[in-house]
Amino acid sequence: MNSPRHNYDVLVIGGGPAGLAAAVCARQSNMGGARVVIVDDNPGLGGQIWRGEQRNPQAKTATPEAAEWFKRAQESQVEFISGARVYDQPEKGLVLAETFDGAIELRYQKLILATGARELFLPFPGWTLPNVMGAGGLQALVKSGLPIEGKKVVVAGTGPLLLAVAAYLRKRGADVALIAEQAPLKSLLSFGLGLWRSPGKIIQAIKLKRELAGVPHLSGCWPVAANGDEQLRSVRLRRGRKTWDVQCDYLACGFHLTPNVELAVFFGCEAPDGVVLVDEVQQTTVPGVYCAGESTGIGGLELSLVEGRIAGLAATGQLEKARELFAERRKLQQFADLLNRTFALREELKRLPQPDTIVCRCEDVSFARLEKQTAWRAAKLHTRCGMGPCQGRICGAAIEFLFGWRPESVRPPVFPVKVGSLIQDATLIAGREQ
């Protein structure tokens, strides 16, 4: 079986802000002519935050910053392979990616991982009902064409994403009934005070607040149940001692973000605390492999961009230019620390799941069955928890929060793939051994 083969000087995995910035900066190297490619499993560049904007730059929700980076990428002739998901590295310098039409082989000299983050989901009764989605999840679907006009939406969970999502959905015509933020008012206020270092963030916050005028925004409030027979009808919220139901078509619920480290771990990079370890030039513990953006710790758009630039410059030997960005990165990291302190998850959320609440959605493993286990490995062996197609990417972070267990290793294929792609893998390995 032969698949299309490509050779690159720099392979960037992930086309969000960090990946885009890395690729553009790698192309600017004095060596000239470095072949730089971005591979991404989404249909377009931009990651989640700029999803759909490459195709639709005229949309009223499009951001000029995204357009600027897409233009830079195009002008500097960064190549882009979309709809391709990296699932194995049969030998150093060669990865396999699966596309809708089959597997492709990509050879590289330097690798930059910009795999971003996913939402953290916490189980509560009814969270598996159709139309209960992530906050970013619903936003991504709307960006990809889901009509939301006139639909009633409750936005809940935690983190700055909630406000951004609510404002976006409202701009697209949704009726945002309520924003429920689990963080206490006290944390939010000190977060606001902490913003004095970042005037840009204050302006953003004021703009969001204006876009959300008239939408109730409650702190110290979180969903305790989603109700409905076949699909969502209403959500039950709690604030202090009060609980009440709000009718809605969609519940957009996410509890901040968790870094996507699986691919980095698979490549041998150390990520002891759930974030990929990097040195001052964004190089991981594996020489020649760099990592930038949310996978090195949740820090937001600006930090992702500057980390991406540093990684792209460093990977192509432009160390002087990379160093010029260190101060900016340090400042943005302080904001990231503040962010993560503010939106820390409250203990009450550990008591949301009832005995019959599903925790692992792939294998339908209930909270009661997990409670009897002592560790992640035991849970896997006895309940199949985390062994379905998502390989623990959804339940893993929830289980770490609920029980304190952390998954151990990542094995190929990093994502479930078609049998044809596995044959591709086997053929390559056999060829190498001959």
Binding site: P43, R55, F100, P130, S144, G145, E230, Q231
Partner: protein
């Protein structure tokens, strides 16, 4: 006017703007659930970004395709579990 694409979801004809992902077509078809879980519960998309696998459908006979990441193409045949 943007170009449109017409495809079939569970035998129903659905028209979407070009650039829409398959999930959009499934929602527009009126389907309640995308798939049934291992114990038969109805499920729909959760993450919207290809990680949770809850939006799996069958596309042109290919099972377990993540509808949130695949763009609609003309005359695609999409099947939910229902």
């Amino acid at each position: 006017m943007p170009e449109t694409i017409t495809l079939s979801v569970d035998g129903r004809s659905v028209t979407v703007p070009e650039g829409s992902v398959v999930s959009t077509a499934v929602f527009l078809s009126g389907a309640v659930a995308f798939r049934l879980s291992v114990t038969g519960q109805r499920r729909g998309p959760l993450c919207g970004m290809g990680i949770c696998f809850e939006c799996r459908v069958t596309i042109n006979g290919q099972q377990h395709a993540r509808s949130c990441q695949i763009l609609c193409r003309d005359s695609m045949d999409v099947r939910t579990d229902e």
